[in-house]
Symmetry: C2
Subunit: 436 residues, 2 copies
């Protein structure tokens, strides 16, 4: 019998016998590899030519559907809307269907996370079903409109479930798009899929729900583990947070800023770190400005660059440069050692002259661009490159796209270096750096 994706199968090779769920083949994956999802939650790829036998243990069509309890509305509890966009946090259903993507109904959600029923009533909607690495500016518009629709129903807050790769970028984009909100809009992800014992999905969701139900915060934020263990979740500032580890549960870090608050998982105590946040006010109307400009790029500076890497962006509406140090690029190099005269500054000038707004950020991630210290950066500023202050490059990218779609160019140039949503911190925040 030919196994189908979603079937539980037993595969024999000359070295071992492996059981798992047969995963669907990726579009660019050829037939020589079969991928199994193991009980550990990890996938493993096997060369088909090494496989001597495959036995189907259980067909996906025959998989028992868990019996669903009817979810009752509890009038004593607030209502929270959960918007699903895909990602690891939504990957539980893989075991039953073999599908990589899945949606949650409120029933699915409460079946998996029964504790949620004590915190709030939930409504749930699938907005998109994708990995966050495929997100485009256009998706932020769609997500924001779904948020607006839910908020207008009068809910106590919104939880957006998303893959973690671009979760912080999406949070920054929503912070710009949502100009006013009466209630909190909290993005939640998981670094380990929720079918694994070590998953962080459960605590992140529960803490986000507690924060919405019990705090007076309004605005966009991220709720993820603050530490590697299941003690404390942090509420991270939407436009000043970055995924800083490929796999750890505490991968998210506030950069040049502090966290907003923490939720202690055992005691459910909410502890605010920031004092100057916008308060919840259900009389306030939600206001969104969802347009985003498509032709905005990001260029990370590296050693041995060529001018063509810059002039590529001629005709773009916006470009964020992730420079070195205080905001540098290679310059012009009438350089005897390199035996080459590369005209990189003229290439940057060409891009600016084509009508592109060019903003400088730093690849050091921590700290602030300063284009007055070295002649090189003074030259760049003279060319028209605008300092991005202490903004994250990814935040500058979505801010630039959003500004270009909503303001005239001269206004964009004025606003890009000014703080609109907490994305620029005017105070010196050296005390927030790494291990201190």
């Amino acid at each position: 019998m030919q196994p189908k994706p979603g079937d539980r199968i037993k595969v024999e090779t000359k070295d071992e016998v492996i059981e798992g769920i047969l995963m669907p083949r990726g579009e660019y994956q050829d037939e020589s590899i079969i991928v199994l999802k193991l009980n550990s939650g990890y996938n493993i790829g096997l060369n088909r030519e090494d496989v001597s036998n495959i036995e189907v243990l259980r067909e996906s069509g025959l998989a028992q559907k868990a019996e669903r309890k009817e979810v009752k509305h509890n009038p004593k509890l607030p209502t929270i809307s959960i918007l699903h966009t895909g990602g690891t946090i939504a990957s539980k259903v893989d075991y039953r269907t073999g599908a990589v993507f899945s949606s949650f109904t409120p029933e699915d959600l409460l079946e998996q996370f029964p504790e949620l029923a004590k915190i709030a009533n939930f409504s749930s909607e699938l907005v998109s079903n994708m990995w966050s690495d495929d997100l485009r500016f256009k998706h932020f518009e769609v997500i924001a409109k779904a948020v607006e629709k839910e908020v207008k129903k009068g809910v106590e807050g919104i939880i957006i479930g998303m893959g973690t790769d671009n979760l912080a970028v999406a949070a920054a984009a929503l912070a710009f798009i949502v100009e006013e909100t009466p209630v909190p809009i909290i993005l939640v992800g998981a670094q380990r899929s929720s079918d694994r014992g070590s998953s962080d999905a459960y605590m992140n969701l529960v803490c986000a729900a507690e924060f919405i139900a019990k705090s007076d915060f309004a605005g966009v934020a991220i709720c993820m583990h603050e530490k590697p263990d299941d003690d404390v979740a942090a509420l991270f500032p939407a436009a000043k947070t970055r995924k800083m580890h490929a796999s750890r549960r505490d991968a998210f870090k506030a950069v040049n800023d502090t966290i907003i608050a923490r939720v202690h998982y055992d005691s459910r105590k909410i502890e605010f770190v920031k004092k100057d946040y916008t308060r919840k006010d259900k009389a306030r109307k939600i206001v969104i400005k969802p347009a985003m400009e498509e032709k905005v790029g990001l260029l990370k500076i590296h050693i041995n660059m060529f001018p063509e890497q810059f002039s590529f962006f001629k005709g773009y509406k916006g470009l964020v440069i992730e420079g070195t140090g205080l905001g540098h690029t290679p310059g012009h190099m009438p350089n005897e050692i390199a035996r080459i005269h590369l005209k990189i500054f003229p290439a940057i000038k060409e891009v600016i002259d084509s009508g592109c707004v060019v903003v400088m950020t730093s690849q050091t991630i921590f700290g602030r661009v300063n284009m007055h210290v070295y002649n090189k950066a003074v030259d760049l500023a003279q060319l028209g490159v605008i300092p991005g202050e202490d903004m994250l490059a990814e935040t500058a990218l979505v801010k630039l796209s959003w500004l270009l779609a909503n303001y005239p160019v001269e206004e964009v140039k004025r606003l890009i270096g000014q703080n609109l949503r907490g994305e620029i911190n005017s105070r010196i925040t050296t005390d927030e750096f790494l291990d201190e």
Copy 2:
């Protein structure tokens, strides 16, 4: 009198009177701005039209040359070669000449850092005079040949003074190029120029010299502040270190690794953290393999990318992708929301089919690429993208350039994911992450 660059001048505007050294005009800086170096060491740009009067206080040609003491060779002390390449650490002379670039003679050096005379005898050579952001692969070849020449003279070790922006990248490149060395080769920079009270140049240089004179370490490393205060310098691993702050003195951090050692500035005590380093052995011959391939690029993944950003690298010999999370790129997007069908995977395939070696690293910086967890990355691996393990993107870039210039392509593909110089840590090193 028309002031010349290097002159100490007094500038009056309607608001203030400012004194400083007139800086030379950058090639792309127009005449409407004049730049002064203030006593603080910072530069300030003034609009010429705001200036009502300029008075020359002291012409640079008249600047008193400090009286030089003859430096005597002390036969009881070891000899260290200092190679200068430019950067902030070499920026003291600005005050006297107004020039941004400068070289140090041993006399200059000991005049400025008299304590060095107690540690070693010094010889000094100017290799290049540039900001490190202008470094190209070709410069590493030149620096390595200068290192080889000095080591063959029988010195106790080499200090390379360099700008900090690409100092860690240069250290990684030298770690690959220098296959064997009998003595230490230590890169040193400064985040604040040595004419400022808060400069870190002094302690970094003294600690590097102490480490060379008193420890048994051989190989390439970086010596910079471990903490913001002047207590401890750290010796950082050449291929696993990154500049993580735009301005702080402790900007350098070991990533997915520990530091090699620390030098306590007051006690001059050397404390090794790593135990498995290569020992100094003056009978060992220096072996360098200085060739680097020019056509190697780096592409940082960001939201809303277009396939052209990938196909740009068609015909390159090597490309490092700085993916999201565990090593992801946007894929193919038959995406109704984005109303666009972008073929990014086919563009990556085109680049690979053109003969380019493509390596995946992660923009999370910390953690390790894992291309077996999600289908997306399995697809990328099937296309021929090679996982870069826990290598820094910048290290992967110089390693790829070096491998391509020295090995056949099939060997490059095998070696890029294997540890050659400590650039890949096979152990899980989650305990080295940020605040822990």
